[in-house]
Symmetry: C2
Subunit: 195 residues, 2 copies
Amino acid sequence: MTTEENILTQARMVFYQKGLAGARMQEIADLAGINKAMLHYYFKTKEQLFDKVFVQAFEAFAKEIVKILNSELELEDKITNYINHTIDVLTKDPGIPVFVLNELTYNPQRITELFAGTDMVDLEVFSEQVNKQTKGNVDPETLFIDMVALCVYPFVVAPVFKKMLQKTDQQYADMLQARKAHIKNNILLRISNPS
Amino acid sequence: MTTEENILTQARMVFYQKGLAGARMQEIADLAGINKAMLHYYFKTKEQLFDKVFVQAFEAFAKEIVKILNSELELEDKITNYINHTIDVLTKDPGIPVFVLNELTYNPQRITELFAGTDMVDLEVFSEQVNKQTKGNVDPETLFIDMVALCVYPFVVAPVFKKMLQKTDQQYADMLQARKAHIKNNILLRISNPS
DNA sequence: GTCTATATTGTGATAGAC
DNA sequence: GTCTATCACAATATAGAC
């Protein structure tokens, strides 16, 4: 691993845990086993380092998901893929959503600029598929929001729910895995039985 | 309004927007129309001020909800009340969830200590009702998680979804109101038709 | 209670030798 | 590329007069 990759790895951990404002260059340097001067040698400013970490985190989270949503997969498979993939990614890296949401809320303009050139998620393909299959009886946007909410929210509030439901880390992880099938049922049922 | 209440109001705005680490005492003082010395006269430290704001925010969000969940309302009414109340509270004060989740993630020990004495949400009453009504065919915890996720998540990711779905603030607000009935249908259907 | 001035510390960033 | 030493400034907090 190069020094730069090492820095990025450690920086990600610190930024995940403390955000941009709360992170300290000293702590990142310590974790990376270098000193502050070296850190600034590789990344001139804290913001520069943060931006790189943020973009990597966001892409890790969003890139594959966008690909799935815009693929030519059949609707049922697409939904199944989305749910499985989202839960798997977040299981590996549960800090992503709060980190992203957080900085998005605390520093919207910076993030907006960061993604000025990037193409956003668009729901055209997905919406068309839903409309066709349900003969216009299911609102695609609502279905999408629900699907995302059911997948992601339990990760976002993990510390709260873990305590509230008195579950160990392992029990909570098992529950999240079990949600794959549960969410799939809920969403697919609404497509096959539009109310 | 007393000076103390004034400070708390302004502090809440700043903490909501920037978090504990990102907030500046100077900005809070400016907004309150006083100087830093006065601010420290009323609240000795930034952390002290933050804790007061946090507890107020959390209670505003959680207190009524806990009351509803533990009430003796009939299950259908309880669910309807929960959904309506949650969406109404968050519509008035959409900054709460990210603020709370954020600090809960970035500073779990501080928050845990803050609520050491408080009684948490418990799902006993709710779970019993669900078990009775569905003859044990619906998992109460899963139902609860889904209900909360469907209500709260659209507020948490409002900036993202607004942009992605290209909605104005008003359109997004209307959509959130319309979700009241939608979520109610989804949840109540699962109770009356356990799969 | 309210202010000005200041102490004190933490932190991002750089200079400059090696 | 790597280090030590240090700058410059921002931010919390306090002292002390009124």
